[in-house]
């Protein structure tokens, strides 16, 4: 009886999963393993070796962006969690507001700021400083990633910080711990679930992102997401595009599996 109710209630979700999650995966795998005429082939997979540099660069940029996000967000989330509840609501809102703006628009805005004759350089020249070349550099691409995905790091960290009992930090001090020791031995272990979730939520979109590097990197730093976009939008090679997607998916799954090892028995994060 109970089981039947359960099945009835869950059936719409099962259907949803089948149509929008399982079916697309099967289709991607199918395209990746066939040629244009629909015959089975490993040709696409072999082609992937052409993109080793791109993949390495994507992962490298993704790691840097994630680390920068973590370094910015951890102290920020702690400060958030220590303010008054009403202030916390406002601060969290402020973090969320940029996310309401379209992703492409946000990236375009950074471009306008960073250009050689852009707003920042104009301002620097006005106050008598020499302009700085920022656009079309690796730094600009990573900045774009950090800017776009920072909220995904702050929010899970903030959530786990609010659950952290301040008395535990006091207890650590009381037993003689310095600020650094308290961070290392008490705070980080107890906010691990937030850290793992934040890293996953920033790293995954950073690795697979497109458009950011085209606009801010001037095409010099092609990332895997751009390659996939190119295969579908300009080269019309759906099979190779699907193969790259499949590879990216496998890479991300490996990363998540590694992260989950760290999380062990702790409560699960939001994403995985």
């Amino acid at each position: 009886m109970k089981n039947r109710t359960y099945n009835t209630i869950s059936s719409p979700y099962a259907l949803w999963c089948a149509i929008f999650i399982v079916a697309p995966l099967v289709i991607v795998a199918f395209y990746a393993l066939t040629d244009k005429t629909g015959n089975f082939t490993f040709e696409n997979i072999k082609h992937l070796s052409m993109y080793t540099d791109t993949i390495a660069r994507s992962i490298y940029f993704g790691i840097i962006a994630t680390v920068v996000c973590l370094l910015i967000s951890y102290p920020l989330a702690y400060i958030f969690s220590k303010t008054k509840v009403s202030t916390q609501t406002i601060l969290v809102m402020l973090v969320m507001v940029p996310m309401w703006m379209n992703f492409l628009l946000r990236t375009y805005a950074i471009m306008v700021l960073f250009e050689d004759t852009g707003i920042i350089n104009n301002f620097l020249q006005k106050i008598g400083l020499s302009p700085i070349h920022m656009i079309n550099t690796a730094g600009a691409v990573i900045f774009g990633m950090v800017y776009n995905y920072l909220p995904f790091m702050i929010l899970p960290l903030y959530t786990s910080m609010t659950k952290l009992d301040n008395k535990l930090i006091e207890a650590a001090y009381d037993l003689g711990a310095t600020g650094f020791q308290t961070l290392r031995d008490v705070m980080i272990p107890l906010t691990k679930s937030g850290i793992v979730t934040g890293i996953t939520m920033v790293f995954v979109p950073s690795v697979s992102t497109f458009y950011i590097s085209q606009k801010l990197g001037g095409g010099k730093y092609t990332l895997i997401g751009d390659v996939i976009e190119m295969q579908f939008q300009t080269a019309y090679n759906y099979n190779l595009g699907a193969a790259i997607s499949l590879l990216l998916m496998v890479l991300i799954l490996v990363c998540i599996a590694v992260m989950n090892k760290f999380e062990d028995t702790e409560e699960r994060g939001m994403l995985v």
Binding site: E170, A172, Y173, D174, L175, G176, A177, D185
Partner: protein
């Protein structure tokens, strides 16, 4: 009285003119307190009286707005919490949930870069002290409240503090366990001979454990003394009411050893008041004897009788004032009874700002008592959020 002359030598902590306020509200005002090395001192008061604030100032978690904290003859205002030789037992234990029992107790030792072998010895010793042998590898979350409490004690004592601060440590335990832990804490303190500064709102707990009790209200010390002293010779109506049950009446000191209240002049043992000075008179419920109305010094009508096991608790209306009397003699509601009070059972206090606020049992009922207790618990939680 305290901290002067001879006693100055073994004072370990003294607070000098400590004031602190939060959000414009004065919590402590020019507070002075000396604590002797090796004593069990209890800060007793209702929630919001500032007792926890004192503890946090001594621990180094709060900095007073003005005044000095002297530890071992040295001002420690600028010494951070992690460098003070005091450790705290927190209200809800604050054990590290990601560490097992062994690692919780070893936490402070590891920070001191002790060798693994020494740590093991110390942790084993501490577990024996708090009677938790064999619990090393248990997760702290799998322990009962009482066991968690023991781990918290072991963790704090492992680092050999000079002073242990205990912030309502038994508040979350049930009554039976609480009594056991009281005895155990007292015996640990006697064995280790270190100073315990204990904060509670439970007067019974304070009376049964302390060498010295500091009764506090509204950020000020109302009375410092031994449990006996505080019970028998309360300084004012607040102290008399807070510690145990008291009938507190308005009286007039006719002359030395003669006090008038309830329309009768009683012999007493107090002197040194002015002639006809208005005073507060305290009579403990257990110190009143009942008799036939015509034989009594004063008499009245019984309005309520409650059987308490060892004794009856009766409320008697005498000239409009409701007395609480604890007696083994039974009387029925409506009976007319007389009462007798021996001279040394009458305690005279000078009038204070608390006069007239306490000590009449006209609105007394067990239910009322229970309701006000519940409030206290609620306010307690609030207080914690504030500080």
């Amino acid at each position: 009285m305290r901290g002067s002359g001879l006693l100055e030598k073994n004072v370990i902590i003294s607070l000098k003119d400590i004031s602190i306020s939060f959000d414009g509200e004065q919590i402590l005002k020019d507070l002075n307190l000396s604590i002797r090395d090796g004593e069990f001192i209890t800060l007793l008061g209702a929630s919001g009286c500032g007792k926890t604030t004192i503890l946090r100032i001594i621990a180094g978690f709060l900095e007073p707005d003005s005044g000095e904290v002297i530890f071992d003859g040295r001002c420690v205002n600028d010494v951070p919490a992690n460098e003070r030789q005091v450790n705290t037992i927190f209200q809800r234990y604050a054990l590290f949930p990601h560490l097992n029992v062994y690692e919780n107790i070893a936490f402070g030792l590891r920070l001191r870069k002790m060798k693994d072998k020494e740590i093991k010895e110390k942790v084993t010793e501490m577990l024996a002290l708090v009677d938790l042998k064999g619990f090393e590898h248990r997760s702290v979350e799998s322990l009962s409240g009482g066991q968690q409490q023991r781990v918290a004690i072991a963790r704090a004592l492992a680092v050999d503090p000079r002073v242990l601060l205990l912030d309502e440590p038994l508040g979350a335990l049930d009554l039976k366990l609480r009594k056991d832990m009281q005895a155990e804490l007292k015996s640990i303190q006697e064995r280790l001979k270190i100073t315990f500064i204990y904060v509670t709102h439970d007067q019974e707990e304070a009376l049964s454990m302390s060498d010295t009790i500091v009764v506090m209200d509204q950020g000020e010390i109302q009375h410092i003394g031994s449990p006996l002293d505080i019970y028998n010779e309360p300084k004012n109506a607040f102290v008399a009411d807070f510690i145990g049950e008291s009938n507190i009446l308005d009286g007039v000191m006719k002359k030395d050893f003669k006090v008038m209240f309830s329309g009768h002049v009683f012999d007493c043992v107090d002197k040194g008041f002015q002639e006809n000075e208005l005073v507060d008179v305290v009579i403990r419920p257990e110190d009143v004897d009942i008799c036939e109305p015509e034989k009594g010094m004063i008499s009245g009508v019984v309005t309520s009788v409650v059987f308490k096991g060892v004794h009856y608790e009766i409320i008697v209306d005498i000239k409009g004032f409701k007395w609480m009397i604890q007696t083994t003699d039974y009387s029925a509601v409506g009976d007319n009874i007389g009462i007798l009070i021996a001279p040394d059972e009458i305690h005279i206090m000078k009038k204070s700002k608390y006069s007239g606020l306490y000590g009449d049992y006209s609105s007394f009922s067990d239910e009322m008592d229970f309701i006000s207790d519940v409030n206290e618990v609620l306010v307690d939680t609030e207080e914690e959020i504030i500080d």
